[in-house]
Amino acid sequence: MVNNNPSFIKSLSVSDLSRYLREIIESDEILYDLWVQGEVSNVSKPVSGHIYFTLKDSKASLKCVVWRSKTHKFNLDLREGMEVEVHGGITVYEAGGQYQLNADSVRVRGEGGLYQEFLRLKNLMEAEGLFKPENKKPIPAIVKKVGIVTSLTGAAIQDMIQTIQRRNPLVEIVLSGSSVQGEAAPEQIVRALLKLERLESLDIILIARGGGSIEDLWSFNDERVVRAISKCRIPIITGIGHETDFTLADFAADLRAPTPTAAAEMATEVTLIDLKEQLAYQIDSMDMIFNDLIDQNKRNLQNLDKTISDHSPIRMIQSDWQSLDAIIIRMGIIQKNILLMETTRINNYSNRLSALDPYEVMKRGYSMITTKKDPRMVSSVKKISIGEELIVMVQDGKFGVNVSSIE
């Protein structure tokens, strides 16, 4: 393109030069893929979604740009004065006549840099009272509806759904999807959380993300996320990363679970088995009480029946019968006695009578005399007269005689 012979030097257009420089720079193996360290300044985040900033040290500065398509890899909320290392490639911005770094990822500079940043933010927010224990809301024991903020495509959401399905499928889940990594994640997490908070019926919200590096989890140290969690009126359980990972979101939450699965477990403290046991207990109680009450009613009825039977006229009649019978028996006895007495008396009389029986006397040869007119026995001569006909009765018959003399 360029002729080296000075006598044929031809002027280049600015565009040609810029393109030439750009081709050289962009084909350089070192400039193509490098880390640059420095202090962040002039951060600008226009609506286009790209991020512009300047990286500088005491002697020089470097324009940096993060295209919107790369911001998801940016886990740090870039702020003025931050010491960082930025990765990317050098290119030429032809319109501005500048070389710049097309950045695609960033890390806090030096050993434990992110951890230092974490501590700085933690102290800041702690001082502000965002983590106060007295502001923690209790986790309800009975949860009917759970909101979940997480990535809808990750493994975490599947684990959580399976855990809840296994433990208590009566729980309803409302998912509020969000990216959980990258520059846009904090804002999305906050928006997803606010959407859930607007729902009336949620008992609890889970904010979760599967395991990853400290950079991957960095969105959960973002001030906006931490504030939104701290302010939320619904109790929040966080399950971010693994057991060993602590984020500022965890500190702001009402309860920290070591993993997304553990968060799902904590949200379903009452399991299907518990519910079944409770139900069985109520059913047993109901059956038992009902049977007792029916038995008691039966017993009451029996008692009443007995009482009423005791007062029944039949019983009185029976009782009357009994006394009547007693009287009858007594009467029978009396009757018997009377009869016996009478018999004795009659026998007595009979004996006495037979002693007086004139026929007995007649057997011995005596006879009885009556007049014809008077059937009474003649016991005196005064009652007869001479010539009168008398009747003489002897033992075996009677005969007439005439009175021939009276003396």
């Binding site: 759904i161 399905q165 499928p169 889940i173 997803a192 009480i289 009450l293």
Partner: protein, 77 residues
């Protein structure tokens, strides 16, 4: 038409919690006693229906998942 306050709610329209709560109240009420036999049997029958409904719900319970916009979420994706 005035609806009686104590008119029983259609069981099939209840959530598990509603049905369980009413069942628990019935058991409590049975425990207190002081019911006519007719009322006792009514309560028991209602309790039986509620407990069967609860059992069914627990046995067939399947997780309801929706996204924030009310769309069903396919948990197998």
């Amino acid at each position: 038409m005035n609806k009686k306050i104590d008119e029983p709610i259609e069981i099939s329209s209840m959530t598990y919690e509603e049905a369980y709560d009413e069942l628990a109240r019935i058991v409590e009420s049975l425990e207190e006693g002081e019911h006519t036999l007719e009322k006792l049997i009514d309560l028991f029958e209602r309790g039986k229906n509620l407990s069967n409904y609860c059992k069914d719900l627990l046995n067939i319970a399947e997780l309801k998942i929706k996204d924030i916009n009310g769309e069903e979420f396919n948990s197998l994706n």
